[in-house]
């Protein structure tokens, strides 16, 4: 193995090992009772139990389903609206303040209404995730569209690109790098929000599982769930970062 690869894998592994060792030492000292500070081996045991029972898998699927619905719905609606607002000056003037307001209003503040309107279940969580993604996507898209250099549109006109062709061959490719960055950020936010939403407005999912473990004083399972939530969050970003490797968007990340 090359020195560089050894370092890029070896060093992070070393940090993880040190982290687990410190964790084991602290739990072994008995400063906290085992029920408040589960030992690493108890957590590993709980992990296999949870994995074998299938409950963990079901909660993962449930949470991912809700995030996907809310996220994709918000993106599918937010990008077109952002493009529209970015192109039409009066639309921007009209809707920018209210979009900024909702962008800065924590989606979790909607929780009571989400439950009143949709009850406990998928819809309430999806609604909150939608809110947490929709406004940032609209605002980032409109800013990206408004910032497209005028020279691109002059070229488009000189070479006869109009209407739909102008949209798909100039406007959308010109904003792609910024849109992809926004997708990464908002997907992270959506994953944070789904856990919070399910803790209150769910009967299943990883957020509900966290609450359930707390109520049952099963902190070993709680740590398993925290671990899974963190790992999935990282994986979601790893998947979305692949979008930045598309050749036609590389220009936005280089130079």
């Amino acid at each position: 193995m090359k020195a560089a690869t050894l370092r890029s894998i070896g060093l992070p592994s070393l940090v993880a090992v040190i982290f687990i060792v410190i964790w084991a030492i602290v739990s072994a000292t008995g400063v906290f009772p085992p029920s408040a500070f589960p030992a690493p081996d108890a957590v590993v045991k709980a992990f296999w139990q949870e994995a074998a029972s299938g409950r963990l898998f079901n909660d993962i699927v449930t949470s991912l389903f809700r995030v996907s619905c809310g996220f994709l719905g918000a993106v599918a609606l937010g990008i077109p609206i952002g493009v529209w607002m970015g192109q039409i000056f009066s639309a921007r003037i009209a809707f920018l303040p209210i979009s900024n307001f909702f962008r800065n209003l924590s989606p979790l503040a909607w929780m009571p209404f989400a439950i009143l309107w949709f009850g406990v279940g998928d819809a309430a969580s999806i609604f909150l995730i939608f809110l947490s993604v929709f406004f940032p996507v609209v605002l980032a898209t409109l800013a990206a569209v408004a910032g497209i250099p005028a020279v691109h549109f002059r070229v488009a006109r000189a070479y006869g690109l109009r209407g739909w062709e102008k949209l798909t061959r100039v406007t959308l490719p010109a904003i792609m790098p910024q849109v992809i960055t926004t997708l990464r950020v908002t997907a992270g936010v959506a994953w944070l929000v789904v856990v919070a939403a399910e803790m209150i407005a769910g009967r299943d999912g990883l957020g509900f599982a966290v609450m359930d473990s707390r109520n049952g004083l099963r902190t070993d399972i709680l740590v398993v769930e925290m671990f899974v939530i963190g790992v999935i969050g990282v994986l979601i970003d790893r998947v979305l970062v692949q979008l930045t490797t598309i050749p036609s968007v590389r220009w936005g990340y280089e130079r």
């Binding site: 000189a158 690109l161 490719p173 036609s248 280089e254 130079r255």
Partner: protein, 249 residues
């Protein structure tokens, strides 16, 4: 070549064109007739309204008064970043060949243009992977693709280093010789104007009007050290009252 003009038509003519942006008068009563196949360079002090004049010529800007007559397809070549960064060299050039419905014919033309600008092997590169000079050559190829009649160039080489600029002048002269076009080149580089143009239009400070027109009869392409080029450079420097170190007491 192109069917969109006939030999009797003047491709571009301005008559008493003035333009103001609010209280700022930018162009004052400019009359200019450009003949078919002519290479006209417009030079003037920076900020004098050269680019505005070019935008009037291209139709991107409407004059406050006066008449603009334009025949045939006009294409701009920009200073930099005129290419679509999300498209490859091939895709950018193909933009100039959109009217071609026959895919084979289009591929053939793209190949010829890539050869013409000597970028074989870079067909699938994106603009950010090319040097500044290479990017400007792609811009030229795109503007020369197909049936365009006239090129309007807005300081196309000013973002390049001196040696690259010299090489690009040679490239431009060669490309225009192979694919004749009417060219209007806006520049602040007197040497560039003298080396490339049939006629040099010197503008005044803002509000810009035509200060002097200078014909250069020597055949194109010319060497930088050609007597006609040197002579024209000297005349313009004298006109602008700069560059005559020997007369400094």
């Amino acid at each position: 070549m192109s069917a969109s003009w006939t030999s009797s038509q003047i491709p571009l003519a301005l008559q008493d064109v003035s333009l103001s942006f609010g209280p700022v008068e930018v162009l004052r009563e400019i009359s200019l007739t450009i003949s078919q196949g002519e290479f006209v360079a417009i030079i003037g002090p920076s900020g004098c309204g050269k680019s505005t004049l070019l935008n009037v010529l291209s139709g991107d800007e409407k004059p406050s008064s006066g008449r603009v007559e334009r025949h045939g397809q006009v294409r701009m070549v920009y200073q930099q970043d005129g290419l679509f960064p999300w498209q490859t060299v091939t895709e950018n050039i193909a933009l100039g060949l959109r009217f071609l419905t026959d895919e084979r014919e289009r591929q053939q033309q793209i190949r010829e243009l890539v050869e013409l600008i000597r970028l074989e092997g870079f067909e699938n590169h994106y603009p950010h992977q090319l040097s500044g000079g290479m990017r400007q050559r792609v811009e030229l190829a795109r503007a020369l693709a197909g049936e365009s009649d006239m090129l309007l160039m807005d300081e196309p080489f000013s973002a390049l280093d001196y040696l690259t600029r010299l090489r690009m002048r040679g490239d431009l002269a060669r490309l225009i010789a192979e694919r004749p076009r009417t060219v209007v080149l806006v520049t602040h580089d007197i040497e560039e104007a003298a080396q490339l143009a049939d006629r040099i239009v010197v503008l005044t400070e803002r509000p810009a009007s035509i200060r002097r027109e200078l014909m250069i009869d020597a055949p194109r392409p010319r060497d930088l050290t050609d007597a006609a080029v040197v002579d024209a450079t000297r005349q313009i420097l004298a006109e602008l009252d700069i560059g005559s170190l020997s007369e400094v007491p």
